[in-house]
């Protein structure tokens, strides 16, 4: 029942001859949240994961509880897709408000595909290829009147599949998988809507026909299948691989989906996730789990992390391993809960009372969410320390495709080590790494240890000794320094020395890499350094930073009272280099590549680069 994949095979009465080759495309779908546009994005992302294309998505969820405008942006193409794209090549507008709000995001020469039943574009605007498609009536005719306009999203998926010559067999398989569990009518209706959408361009659009460049097989590596998922899921699955079987949490956007996943998954693994009465109880319960030898996780977003700070200090003092996820959002206070920001860095590193050396890791993309979750647990165990996994709203909901992890090699066995401890067991030895004896462990001496938030001697008993306090502070500091010495050198791309070094952490990785390409293409010697271990910093950075005239630290937080973002402030304090400068913004959105290029241009005082930014880059979809 489904149209075959090639236009030739569909009976010949079809679109123009050969499709035009493109490298990648950014499609923005704008409608209302109940239209299921996230589903279109999800299908395209999953398809890309099953094909040779790479994919990156960007989604906004309305902060209202149900309904309201919503967008999903998907960028797919050949080779590494690093960011969701600054501007769209194609805008699919379901309603007039979608058109009004998003036409500005369409690149010149791009395609405006709108529902002719709902949208009237501005007359005489010939910047774009305008395609008026009766999406609503087309869907109703295809599916039949009963379902009203449900299925418009699948109709649009058909349109897109035809225009970009996507693999129909794989898409329809995805549709079957998605709706297969429900009744057969739903699958049939979905396929009818898809077919109708797929057929429409053949009869109505002759020139709009593209195909992604074939991938260079030499660079397509692992041979493992691709998986497609969002950052929060990747973190949850990373914890499962790391042997985490216990956790506790309290709902807060955008952290909640991690706890939902773990609550659902953990019982299968014999584990427990507790939904607690508040943020403080969550970290307390997680620490209780860790105390039994089951390294546990908790998490939150900015305001919730603040509530966990007292217990985090205890974890440093008692040397109790725990991993705390913080999915950053716009702050302070409730701020912009469904927007992205990187303004919790200082809180993550220094937020607690007292001297609390601890570890902060920040994933660079969805794939990294999985691997850094595993590493966070490994470090927490090895150094008996709290570890914060600092991710953000953009990563939490973004869908990416990446190589399926080699789980066999990665799985860490769970469970406490309750083997009897020798008679000389001390919970807090000054000359060795703390290794707690989990509750339930026999101690050969018959003397049982106390874990404590009071300053203590090597046996965990309270002390007021000034000497011991200094020694124990040093112990807690030195183990974090010992970790720093083991950290790999961060990823450096571009020129080994030169005019500018862009430094990023967290989800700015992708746009910064793209910005670097543009800056170097303009003849400026530059590099990009991305740091995943934000605290403690890896060794050897001072030499790297010193090789560039300007070190431009790009981060999504405010430049502060002194003109530097939070990470830039730390780097200046650590390396004392006047060349370290900041490019900051707090509009609640991820960096656009052009914004990063502009930031570098401004700091270099490079007019050519600045000119590059203001140039409008036409869409690859533009008609020739």
């Amino acid at each position: 029942m489904v149209s075959p994949n090639t236009p030739e095979a569909s009976g010949g009465a079809s679109a123009s001859a050969a499709p035009r080759s493109i490298k990648d495309v950014v499609i923005r779908l704008a409608g209302n949240s109940q239209d299921g546009i996230q589903a279109i994005g999800g299908f395209l992302a999953r398809l890309a994961g099953r094909s040779d294309q790479d994919v990156m998505t960007y989604m906004t969820i309305p902060s209202t509880i149900s309904g309201g405008p919503s967008i999903f942006q998907v960028r797919m193409g050949t080779g590494d897709i690093l960011s969701a794209g600054d501007r769209a090549d194609m805008l699919v507008a379901f309603y007039q408000h979608s058109y009004d709000a998003h036409i500005g995001s369409l690149r010149p020469g791009g395609v405006l595909l709108y529902d002719a039943d709902h949208v009237k574009p501005v007359e005489g605007d010939n910047r774009f290829t305008n395609v008026a498609c009766p999406i609503t009536t087309g869907t109703i005719e295809a599916v039949g009147g009963t379902a009203k306009d449900k299925g418009k999203n699948i109709y649009v998926l058909g349109l897109i599949a035809r225009i970009f010559d996507l693999e129909v067999a794989k898409l329809t398989q995805l549709i079957r998988e998605r709706f297969g569990g429900k009744n057969e009518d739903i699958v049939r209706n979905a396929l009818l809507a898809f077919d109708a959408g797929y057929a429409w361009p053949q009869n109505n659009l002759r020139d709009l026909f593209y195909r992604f460049e074939a991938i260079d097989r030499a660079t397509a590596v692992s041979g493992r299948p691709q998986v497609t998922l969002d950052g929060n899921s990747a973190i949850a699955y990373g914890f499962l691989a790391a042997g985490v079987r216990h956790g506790a949490g309290y709902p807060i956007t955008p952290w909640s989906s991690i706890m939902e996943t773990l609550r659902t998954e953990l019982p299968k693994y014999g584990g427990v996730f507790v939904q607690c009465e508040d943020e403080i109880a969550s970290i307390s319960t997680a620490l209780g789990f860790s105390y039994t030898g089951n390294v546990a996780i908790t998490g939150s977003a900015g305001p919730g992390l603040s509530l966990k700070m007292e217990a985090l200090s205890w974890a440093t003092m008692a040397e109790m391993p725990i991993v705390v996820v913080n999915v950053q959002r716009g702050g302070p206070s409730t701020g912009m809960p469904t927007n992205v920001e990187q303004s919790d860095l200082m809180q993550a590193i220094y937020g607690s009372h007292g001297d609390t050396p601890r570890v902060v890791l920040a994933p660079k993309n969805v794939e990294d969410c999985f691997y850094l979750a595993i590493e966070a647990v490994r470090i927490a165990r090895a150094y008996s320390t709290p570890v914060l996994l600092l991710t953000d709203q953009a990563l939490s909901s973004r869908i990416e495709a990446f190589d399926e992890p080699d789980l066999k090699a990665l799985m860490v066995p769970p469970g406490p080590d309750r083997t009897e401890r020798p008679a000389d067991f001390k919970p807090y030895p000054l000359d060795r790494q703390t290794r707690h004896a989990p509750a339930g462990t026999r101690i050969a001496s018959g003397k049982y240890p106390v874990v404590t938030g009071l300053e203590h001697d090597e046996f965990g008993h309270p002390t007021g000794s000034p000497k011991l306090h200094a020694q124990m502070n040093a112990k807690r500091r030195e183990k974090i320094k010992a970790l720093a010495a083991t950290l790999p050198a961060p990823e450096l791309s571009g020129d080994a020395s030169g005019e500018a070094l862009i430094v990023t952490w967290g989800s700015n990785y992708g746009p910064a890499r793209e910005a670097l390409e543009r800056i170097r293409a303009a003849g400026v010697s530059a590099a990009h350094l991305h740091i995943r271990h934000v605290h403690p910093l890896p060794h050897g950075l001072e030499e790297v930073l010193a090789r560039y005239r300007k070190v431009v630290v790009a981060e999504l937080n405010d430049e502060g009272v002194y003109g530097f973002g939070q990470f830039a402030t730390l780097l200046r304090a650590r390396y004392a280099l006047p060349s370290i400068v900041s490019t900051c913004k707090t509009d609640g959105l991820t960096f656009k590549v052009s914004e990063l290029v502009a930031g570098v241009a401004r700091h270099l005082g490079n007019a050519t680069l600045e000119g590059l930014v203001s140039q409008a880059r036409p869409s690859p979809l533009a008609s020739r």
Binding site: Y237, V272, C276, Y291, T292, E404, G446, T452
Partner: protein
């Protein structure tokens, strides 16, 4: 720093005695009611004879919360008011452990009030002993959530204004499945209450009136006969069919427990309420795991996660 072992350790399986269970010397003031609670707790552990390594003593912050340092078991000293959620993690993370939490009225009813409610409603298998002295002692005499109206403290020099918490009502209302009340001058009664609490399968709480001789002397004299007070025990139903049994207190009767809780100061002592039917969170979570694993037919962790990723292809 103390040295590790002066005396040879007891052989595995040796009976737990007070000598074995004694750790640091208590830091409490001479005359503090908490000494008697500690002595009774040793007796409780001597009677229970749990494997030594399976006993956990935990606490938050306060005078009474120093307790774990004085008991030679696995244990710890957490932050103010949060010992219960920590203990919930211990109990759910190690189902074979016997978890005892000690704390005061400030820790339990003020800063930790929310946790008390929720640990009770979830019925996590924990025994919680609240040593209530009706004053903040560690910080030297401020009004506590159980200080009576008119109590003169450093924060209410003219006498406390606010209505105090009624601990029994609060605990009953939270859904605690074992609620009892005792007095630090009644060692045998305290021991019996803690023993019954420990044997209860669920969240069991014993509130012990424990006088702070420094900052609230005579607070509980009303229940001390030798100081002219009245020590009145709850007359529990014996189910012996006798005519007088009808008037006795049925510990499974929640309404009767509320009525007891509403009696005039100093009220009665003993078990107010015990619910033996409500299942513990420990049991419910274990059942959830068992049912889930039935569906996955005991697949290995690796196979489970591989299947999850296969669906994401």
């Amino acid at each position: 720093m103390s040295t590790a072992v002066a005396t040879p350790p007891p052989p595995a399986g040796a009976p737990l005695t007070k000598k074995v269970l004694t750790a640091d010397h208590p830091t409490w003031c001479p005359g503090c009611g908490d000494f008697a609670v500690l002595a009774s707790f040793y007796r409780v552990l001597e009677k229970l004879q749990y494997p030594h390594e399976k006993i956990v003593t935990f606490a938050g912050i306060g005078c009474s919360s120093r307790f774990p340092y004085f008991v030679n078991t696995h244990g710890g000293h957490f932050i103010h008011g949060r010992a219960l959620p920590f203990a919930a993690g211990i109990s759910l993370g190690g189902d074979d452990l016997h978890v005892f939490v000690f704390g005061g009225d400030g820790d339990g009813f003020s800063i930790g009030g929310n946790h008390l409610t929720h640990t009770a409603r979830k019925n996590v298998r924990i025994t919680y002993v609240i040593m209530d002295n009706s004053v903040y002692g560690l910080t030297k005499k401020q009004t506590s959530p159980t200080s009576p109206i008119g109590f003169k403290s450093k924060t209410d020099p003219w006498g406390a204004l606010d209505q105090p918490i009624n601990p029994m009502r609060t605990l009953l209302n939270s859904g605690a499945t074992f609620v009892a009340r005792s007095h630090a001058t009644q060692v045998n009664h305290m021991t019996e209450m803690m023993l019954r609490a420990a044997r209860h399968d669920g969240f069991s709480v014993v509130e012990i009136l424990s006088e702070c001789v420094e900052f609230f002397e005579g607070a509980f004299d009303a229940a001390i006969p030798r100081k002219g007070g009245h020590w009145v025990l709850i007359d529990e139903k014996k189910n012996d069919g006798s005519p007088e049994d009808a008037a006795r207190h049925d510990v499974s009767d929640e309404l009767a427990a509320f009525q007891l809780a509403g009696q005039a100061w100093p009220g009665k002592f003993g078990v107010f309420y015990e619910n033996k039917t409500r299942r513990t969170k420990n049991a419910l979570e274990a059942e959830l795991i068992a049912k889930t694993r039935e569906k996955t037919k005991g697949a290995t962790d690796l196979a489970l996660l591989q299947a999850t990723f296969a669906k994401l292809r």
